[in-house]
């Protein structure tokens, strides 16, 4: 783990460090050689850590005041909003924090897709990241159920019913998940319990994610292996910490904008109506960050098929490092892949849009085209493009231009600024 041996200066420090090398760890983290050409898309790792900690801290406070009971949950949320000191602030940070968390994670994932950060030797980092993403979706879904509003209740009903599509044992599994014969108080209490557990699982995976990252070191916009430490790298502290801090502040301004001036714009107004099993809302929609998957689910006329495709859309990402056949990591040097990357971004945005619309007419057509294209991208386009594409010359190091001429690095740089 350490590239150099660290010896504490003080005697007490040395005594402690010999028994538990925490100081060595701290030294490793501050000196960690990082490529000096990382752009702002690389600041989202730090931002995501901030998001996770924000959710955990505000969540712990909310749990002190929240009551997980079907008859009392909605009222307890109003109690937090009205009677708890700054309860409205804590709750709005938590509810908007979920959206900001997903915004950041999507940027983080697409950054990885663009610069090929998932490729060898970083497959394990990528897979742990996807596990974190899956847990995030589970945590967000269960968290949305807790206020026990109409969308909470009906969202939970729709999602848990997906499991009934499993042949033979589907209904039994659904009943087991509910702890009742419909979404009811037992469902709420177990969701609360799991919603409190999952963030700590995520935290554990984040440690593994960073550990795995520190073995090969960061990928970078040029996507080449670099010597560490060398003149291509800078120590993590203070160079990367200050840059992450600056990016985090800009992110916080947007975050604060939502919390203070539009705290409910990302939510659904129906969730301020207490859950009522007798009244179904006109349109049941999940939160915005799950909409692309919702669109995929509804694009298939068969329930089981829809469920398989929806989960498949995530699980296909697990084998992405082996689907991409290109030897070149960064899309900066991959003129064809670069185009398909942006088409994929557009495809996911369109899926998200139609996921919010009723599943009929033009929206259903768009959802189907979008779904087919999504899988086409990973199963056909990626492997084929990797073989056929003529990549541009890759520089030998970050500081030095390519051997065949000095144009490419500056081009790479220009390209980075553009995106």
């Amino acid at each position: 783990m350490s590239e150099h041996e660290y010896v504490p200066k003080s005697k007490a420090g040395k005594w402690f460090n010999d028994r538990l090398p925490l100081l060595s760890l701290a030294s490793h983290l501050t000196d960690y050689p990082t490529p000096k050409n990382l752009n702002y898309w690389w600041t989202f790792g730090g931002i995501l850590t901030f998001c996770l900690l924000t959710q955990i801290i505000t969540g712990i406070v909310l749990a002190m005041h929240y009551v997980a009971h079907a008859d009392l949950a909605f009222a307890s949320v109003e109690h937090i909003m009205r009677d708890v000191n700054y309860g409205w602030l804590i709750r709005y940070i938590h509810s908007n924090g979920a959206s900001m968390f997903f915004l950041a994670v999507y940027i983080h994932i697409f950054r990885s897709l663009f610069y090929g950060s998932y490729k060898s030797p970083r497959e394990i980092i990528w897979i742990i990241g996807l596990m974190i993403y899956l847990l995030m979706m589970a945590a967000a879904f269960m968290g949305y159920v807790l206020p026990w509003g109409q969308m909470s209740f009906w969202g939970a009903t729709v999602i848990t019913n997906l499991f009934s599509a499993i042949p033979l044992v589907g209904d039994s599994i659904t009943t087991w998940l509910w702890g009742a014969y419909s979404v009811d108080n037992p469902t709420l209490t177990r969701f609360f319990s799991l919603h409190y557990l999952i963030p700590f699982l995520i935290l554990g995976l984040v440690v593994l994610h960073i550990w795995a990252l520190h073995i090969p070191g960061n990928n970078n916009p040029v996507g080449i292996d670099i010597k560490k430490p060398s003149k291509d790298t800078v120590p993590f502290h203070p160079y990367i910490t200050i840059k992450d801090a600056f990016a985090l502040l800009l992110f916080s301004i947007i975050f604060a904008g939502f919390v203070f001036f539009a705290p409910n714009v990302l939510g659904h107004s129906d969730n301020y109506i207490q859950a009522n099993p007798m009244v179904t809302p006109a349109h049941i929609v999940p939160e915005w960050y799950l909409l692309p998957f919702y669109a995929i689910l509804r694009s298939v006329p068969d329930k089981l098929g829809g469920v398989i495709l929806m989960f498949g859309a995530i699980f296909i990402l697990f084998v992405l490092p082996w689907l991409d056949t290109s030897k070149v990591r960064s899309a900066v040097f991959r003129p064809i892949y670069r185009q398909f990357f942006w088409i994929l971004v557009l495809d996911v945005l369109v899926l998200g849009y139609v996921g919010a619309m009723p599943a009929e007419g033009i929206y259903l057509v768009l959802a189907r085209v979008g779904t087919v294209y999504y899988f086409l991208h990973f199963i056909v386009i990626l492997p084929v493009v990797g073989y056929l594409e003529k990549t541009e010359p890759v520089p030998l190091s970050i500081s030095e231009p390519v051997l065949s001429g000095s144009a490419n690095y500056s081009m790479a740089k220009k390209d980075n600024e553009k995106i």
Binding site: K36, N39, A75, E78, H79, M81, R82, W88, L89, V234, P238, Y239, I242, K243, A245, F246, L249, L250, S252, I253, A256, G257, V259, F260, F261, P263, N264, S269, D270, Y272, I273, Q339, W342, L346, L349, V350, Y353, M357, I362, K418
Partner: protein, 258 residues
């Protein structure tokens, strides 16, 4: 850049398509509320009048179970004086107990009491109103798409049904209501309440005042939220500038710079 343009063209066309599709429904009237915008505040006098309308007109059917009488005197709300709040609360009969003998009893309301509901439960409320439960109004503004504009529009949107539309007994026609059918009769008429501050009680005035009151009830933190928000964002912007300058200085040691 081309790709970005393509992006926005497609997204834009989707949006336009969507607006065309929902053009049959009447959009709520846009009112220039004083509490909109980054520095929006409630109109104190309008809140007090709105409470009067709520209390004299709406409260006979609609509960507001999450509000307490003390809220009426808190900063950022109608800001009735302490005596006024006590008097308002004392005007209600609250069921309390059980006492030492195990009996429930009634007493005059106190500022710490929750708003007294007109019906003992949802079923009783529905039964007394032709099967339609008059929704609790504590968070009503947040619970409706269109918020304050929608509530106001429904209050002034009663019309005779257009030819060809037949309404059942106890159902009324409303231009802005989803589906145009509403079980709440048009309860507002000019001069229905006599405002303590002498404002003329037109239907429009009462609808605006009570909507303002309901907006506050749904978001009692709105004013302090806006005030804190401005401070927080100013602080973050200043700190960003400082951190940006520090970053430039630190990175000036590295070549090429970021």
């Amino acid at each position: 850049m081309k790709k970005f343009k393509l992006f926005f063209c497609i997204l834009l066309s989707l949006t336009i398509f969507n607006t065309l599709k929902s053009a049959e429904q009447v959009d709520p009237i846009k009112v220039d509320w004083s509490f909109k915008g980054l520095l929006g505040k409630f109109d104190r006098a309008s809140l007090q009048r709105g409470y009067q309308v709520y209390n004299e007109v709406c409260a006979s059917c609609h509960s507001m179970q999450y509000l307490s009488y003390r809220n009426l005197g808190e900063p950022g709300g109608p800001e009735f004086s302490e005596e006024e709040v006590k008097a308002i609360a004392a005007g209600f009969e609250v069921t309390d107990g059980p006492d030492a003998q195990g009996e429930m009893f009634t007493r005059a309301g106190r500022p710490s009491d929750k708003f007294v509901s007109p019906y003992p439960n949802v079923k009783a409320a529905a039964a007394a109103n032709g099967g339609a439960y008059p929704p609790d109004m504590s968070v009503l503004v947040k619970a409706r798409k269109g918020g304050a504009n929608y509530i106001y529009s429904v209050l002034v949107g009663y019309e005779d049904p257009p030819p060809g539309v037949t309404l059942d007994e106890g159902v009324y026609y409303n231009k802005y209501m989803i589906g145009n059918k509403i079980k709440m009769p048009n309860n507002l008429s000019d001069g229905l309440v006599e405002y303590a501050d002498g404002t003329e009680a037109t239907v429009d005035q009462m609808a605006k005042d009570v909507t303002t009151f309901l907006s506050w009830a749904a978001e009692p933190e709105l004013e302090s939220r806006h005030k804190t928000g401005v401070k927080v964002i100013l602080y973050l912007v200043l700190l960003s500038i400082l951190v940006f300058l520090s970053m430039k200085k630190i990175w000036s040691r590295v070549n090429p710079e970021i």
